[in-house]
Each structure stands twice: as structure tokens, then as C-alpha cells.
């Protein structure tokens, strides 16, 4: 059956592919490998192509990229920024700024590119993200802020990236939060969709790792209740998440990453020092007291009890 003529006449038979450049700053390559896990890679590459990518076949190698400094539809930047960090002999200051000014859109891929991340810890004064330096909007691309989308996460989820690329390709507006993170991805908390939510609600803690029961927020340092991210909605590698495997969320999507003492919950008079997002301490205390007074047998025993 032929498609309606109205559609065929407005759709170019062979639309130009979106041209993308993947540039690396100070990085572990974790976002590159995270991206390669995207099962939708084939579909993505039907409508877009890389002028440069550190691992995938592409039209320009690093030397050619630095020599030509080409225009692109999307510049994806992975890793932390430092002005004098070099790629193929060119300082990042010049390389990033030139490529960014010639790009239609820019994506800060991962927490290093977003806020400085782990590598900022080595040289806090000189290392930052491309738009943000921790919470401060003082990075090298601050003049181009409207072009920048932040995809924080260590690493960022491949689907988060393909979502943003697709939105850009379709020229759709991406609603963003204060750190220019897409709301469709970061309005959720890691806590949303966590399989242990019921234990959180009834204030049942998890005594130890390696069990299905209990909430990791009270003792094990889980940052899920105040970390923006859709890890428990858009699952990792299609199947799981940190909290689903019993590992506390380490808050890797936030500008504060990496905090210290990551597997301990800081408490103040035995109350978690950091509250679930938007919950006033006083209300929390009242609620926690009430919730704890319930002794729900089901939540105090094993989830799967062989002897029951």
C-alpha cells in the first residue's frame, strides 16, 4: 500500500544525517562504553553519523579533527575540562571553544563534562565541567549556555543520550532543570521505582548488604531519595540498577558527586542528615515516628521465606 501523498511529498527521500562529533576531555572513557551498550545504536546511526568518535569508525581522526575544526549538528563532550589539557597537540581551551561555537547543539555527556566529576578532585581549581563547575555556571561554554544540554551521571545512561539526540534531530524543545538537565530524564529521583520503596515508607532499614530486604537510605548511605535520575525507570543495561542489585545510590548525577563516606548515612541525632528531596525535617520526624510505630510483620521477615 502506498503511503498518503501528503506525507511522501513533505518527507525528503534521503534526509541528510545529523553530523556529530564526540570529543573527550579528561576521561575514563566510561561514557563512550556506556553509549556502545545502547541496543538502539543501529537505529540511531540510520539518522546520524559521527564526524569523529574515539572508538567507532568515523570520517575524521583526531589529527584531522584538530586541523579542520569542522561544523557539526551536535558536539558531544565527554570528560572534565581543563584549559591546558591537550588533544592531538591542541589545548582544550581552543579545541572545545572552536568546535562548540561551530556546533548547533552541545551535550555534556557524563558527570565530568557536566560538573567536573571525579577528575575535578585532582585539581579543583583548574578542572570543571564545560558549562558548570560543580553548581556554579562558570564553565568555558557559559556564553553558549542555551546550546548546552547536561547529561550528568557516572556514566550517563545510553538511552538518555539517544533521547536527547533524537529530540535535537526532530528539533523539539527539551525542557530542562536549573542544571540544563532534561526534565523528562531528571525530574525523577533514583528512589522512584526502587524495589525497596516500601521499606523506605515504613522506615525499615537494611541491616546488611546482600539481602532483598530493607532500605539502604538509613544506614548504607543510599542517596536515591535526593538524587535526580531515572535509573530505576530506564534500567541499566535494560535489566537492573544500583539499588536493584542492593548497592546504595552514590548520587552520581548531582554536582556534589563524589561525596565522601559513600557507604555510610550521615545522621544528626540518629536522623539522616540529608532529607528526602522536598521533605521538611520536622514533618519527616513526625512521619518517621508514626511509621516506625507500625510493626509490619511482612516487612520484618524475609521476603521469600523458604520455611513459610
Amino acid at each position: 500500500m502506498k503511503p498518503p501523498s501528503a506525507i511522501t511529498s513533505t518527507m525528503p527521500s534521503n534526509p541528510a544525517k545529523l553530523k556529530m562529533i564526540w570529543l573527550q576531555g579528561i576521561t575514563c572513557n566510561g561514557n563512550t562504553h556506556s553509549f556502545l551498550n545502547d541496543p538502539a545504536l543501529e537505529t540511531l546511526l540510520e539518522s546520524s553519523e559521527f564526524i569523529h568518535h574515539p572508538l567507532l569508525p568515523c570520517s575524521m581522526n583526531l589529527r584531522q579533527l584538530v586541523k579542520k575544526l569542522p561544523k557539526s549538528d551536535i558536539l558531544i563532550f565527554e570528560g572534565a575540562y581543563k584549559a591546558d589539557f591537550e588533544r592531538a597537540g591542541m589545548r582544550m581551551e581552543e579545541l572545545l571553544n572552536t568546535l562548540a561555537s561551530k556546533a548547533k547543539h552541545i551535550i555534556a555527556m557524563g558527570s565530568c563534562a557536566s560538573f567536573g566529576g571525579i577528575f575535578k578532585e585532582a585539581d579543583p581549581e583548574h578542572i570543571s565541567g564545560i558549562l558548570f563547575d560543580k553548581e556554579k555556571e562558570s564553565g568555558p561554554l557559559k556564553e553558549m549556555r542555551e546550546k548546552v544540554i547536561t547529561l550528568s551521571g557516572c556514566p550517563a545512561h545510553p538511552k538518555w543520550l539517544s533521547f536527547v539526540i533524537e529530540m535535537m534531530r526532530l528539533e523539539k524543545t527539551i525542557a530542562v532543570d536549573e542544571f540544563r538537565r532534561p526534565k523528562e530524564l531528571y525530574a525523577y529521583l533514583v528512589h522512584n521505582g526502587c524495589l525497596r520503596n516500601e521499606y523506605f515508607e515504613w522506615k525499615v532499614d537494611c541491616d546488611t548488604f546482600g539481602t532483598k530486604e530493607g532500605c539502604l537510605f538509613y544506614d548504607q548511605g543510599c542517596q536515591g531519595p535526593f538524587t535526580h535520575g531515572s535509573c530505576n525507570k530506564i534500567l541499566w543495561n535494560e535489566v537492573s540498577s544500583k539499588t536493584r542489585s542492593g548497592t546504595p545510590c552514590v548520587g552520581c548525577t548531582e554536582p556534589t558527586f563524589p561525596k565522601r563516606e559513600l557507604f555510610t548515612t550521615k545522621t544528626y541525632m540518629s536522623i539522616p542528615a540529608e532529607m528526602p528531596l522536598g521533605v521538611p525535617k520536622r514533618s519527616y520526624l513526625a512521619l518517621a515516628g508514626a511509621a516506625k510505630s507500625f510493626h509490619i510483620k511482612r516487612l520484618e521477615g524475609k521476603l521469600i521465606d523458604d520455611n513459610a
Binding site: P54, L55, E238, P258, L262
Partner: protein, 431 residues
Amino acid sequence: MITHELIERIEGEAVLDFKTDKSGHVQEASIRFLHFRGMEAILEGRNALDALVIAPRVCGICGHSHLIAAVRMLENLYASAGSAVKVTPKAHALREVTRVCELMQNHIKWLYLVMLHESGKLLGKEPQVALRALYASSQINQMSALFSGQWPHSSYAHPGGVTCDPTHIEVMQALKLLSDVERFIEKDVLGCKTENFEANMDVESLLLMEGDFGTLLRYFERLDLLDLGKSHGRFLVLGEDAHEITPNERSYAHIDFVSEDDSQTFAHGGKTYAKNALYRGKFYETGPLARAISTERSGVSALYQQYGDTALTRITARIDEVVSLIAYVRLLLTSLDFTESSFIPPVSIESISGKGVGVVEAPRGSLIHRATVEKGKIASYSIITPTQWNLGNGTYDSPGIAQKAMLGIESTAKASLIFRTFDVCSVCTTH
């Protein structure tokens, strides 16, 4: 003549400085890694358990190996402080599943994104994006994530076991993925059943193989590189099944003989950020070939007896490792006993002071994490990565492993390809 080649499409970049004679043959080669990130300093002063989050970030492709090295370091620390930690066979097996998953996905990416691409380029045929291979590697990472929560960068291994508490449903999913991956290996990589591959590991049969691995060997043959790339013939495995193997001797290896040499670094007027890793003061090759000889895997050992540590043997060892690991993962998955605990809590890390060392066989070879901890805080942290072993810079008289393998090769382009047979990781090395 002196030439400088920027080597890309490794993990990060490196520069090779070649000295060639009039005909272009390589007389000397030195290796520069130009970046440095200071991971060890980032770890210092932190709670020792934070290493389980920070250390994996050394590397995006073998971060899980860094996690396992860090957790072994912590367990060794507990033991040396007199508070030995118990890990159940189940928790150990789960760590093994996820550890070797990382090896398998790495080797597949190396074959398709690096080797077929770079050797094809020299012969005028650049392959397209290897989508099927990337899909298979994503399935392997999915297998790992069923237990570890995510790949890359999970922190699910802790002193005392693992944080997850899986059921047989995850095992079923993992076995299904493993079968899919095995089909990919047989159909695309080997072009035959794994049994046939393992039973016919002679050069004539290998060169006739229909899969992409056969294509790679044929590319190397056309480039006249198949029987080149020989190095010192000294091998080291420090993680699982620790052995040192030299042309004359085979014995158990011990970490006490490991040292780092910074004479070639910028700190001492050299030209790289990477330190050399040495065993008994000498360069040793680590990685899949060392492991194959150490565990006496029959096919690769026979190839080694006949052809030595050539490109042929080195490439085959990496592919053969994937095949042998499929069987190993299946065995691990089918023998899990879910009645055992996932985690046995150790005493608080804050009560622990002392030294710890953790060694693991990572995709590219032996990875070592050492730390000194005072009352649960990291006082010092030191990492030696596999690429430091294989790509160290020696002197003219005593070249490093990859340096020696490149000597005498007829062009710098071909020497660069030999360099890649070691599966270079710049990001690990410049930690």
C-alpha cells in the same frame, strides 16, 4: 629518521616515537602516554570503602576489574589486620561471572573496533560500524548487570561478598544471554563450532576459518605480520593462578618481586606519564597470552611452542580466551548455590589499620591495587595497570615488551599494528 605517530582508537591516545633506518624499518620505538589524572591522590584521605566507587572510574572499559582489585585489596587489608573476612562460594562465583564478562566484552570490542578496523585500513578496506559485535558485547554487559546492577561502573562487590541477592530468574536470563553470545562467537567470530575451533588450532586451519577472526589473521598474513611481533618470551600472571614463565623456566609468581620504575617519566626528565612495571627488575608480558600459557590451554600453548610469541599467537590467545570463558561462565552460573549468603558483614572499616594488596587478571593482564589504611582512612594508594607491564619503555639494550615486538618491522604503520595486538589502554595507564 625519527617519526611520531599519534595512536588513536585505543582507550585514549598514545604517541609512538619511531627511529627508522633508510628502508623504513623500525630500529627503536618509544611510547608516550601524555595524560595523567591523579586517581591515587584522589583516593588518599578518603574512607577506604570509597575506593569501591572511585577506583572503577580509572577505566571505562575495565572498571569492574578495578572494583574487584579494590575489594580484594580491602579483604587482604582486613586479613592482615587480624580480622579476616569470609566470602561464600556463591559470592565468589558471582564476582567471577561479572569479572570475566568484562574480559569477554573487551576482547570482542578489540577484535572489531580496533584490529579489524586498523588492519583493514592498511589494506584499503575499512569496515562499517560493527553493530552485531557491539550488540553482543552489550549482551555480555547485560549479563554482568543482572548481578552487578550496571556496567560500566558498578560498586556491588564489598569486603564480605556482594550486595546483590539474586534468584534463579537472573541465572536463567544470564544463561539465555550467554547462549546468544556463544551463537555470535560461532557464527560471526569463528565461523564454526567452538569445539571445532579448539580442536584444530594449527595455523593452516586458523587461516581457513570463515569468521571475522579468520579475516583478521588473513589480513595479518597479507601484511606479512603473522609471524612477527616477537618479544622476550617472558610471561607473568599475578591474579588467578599466579605464574611466571620464561623460555627456560616456569614457577609460581609472587607479588613481592613486582616493582615500578619511574626513570622514563616526566618527573625524571623522561617523556611519559606512565611508569614501567617490572618483575624481578625485568619486563614481562601479561594478558591473554600469558594466561593461556600459564593455564596450559592446549591450543594456544601448542601454537606458542611452534610460533613463539608472535602476532599469530597473541591474537589467537585473546580470541581463545573468549571461547574458554564462555564455558567457564556457564559452569559458574549452573553451579551457584542460592542457599548460601551473598554477604557476611565484616567489622567496621574504621577499626582497621594496615596494608592491603589486591590483584586481579583484567582484560589486558595483571592489575594490582595496594593501599595503606589508617583507622579506615586511605593513607596511600598505588595502582599498577596491565598496560604498564606490556608497554613500558626500556632502553636500547633492554627494550620493553611492545617495544621489542616492534623492532625490525618494515614500516611504522605496520609496527603500530603490532603495538595494537597488545590491546593498549591509555586511560588505565595514565591513572
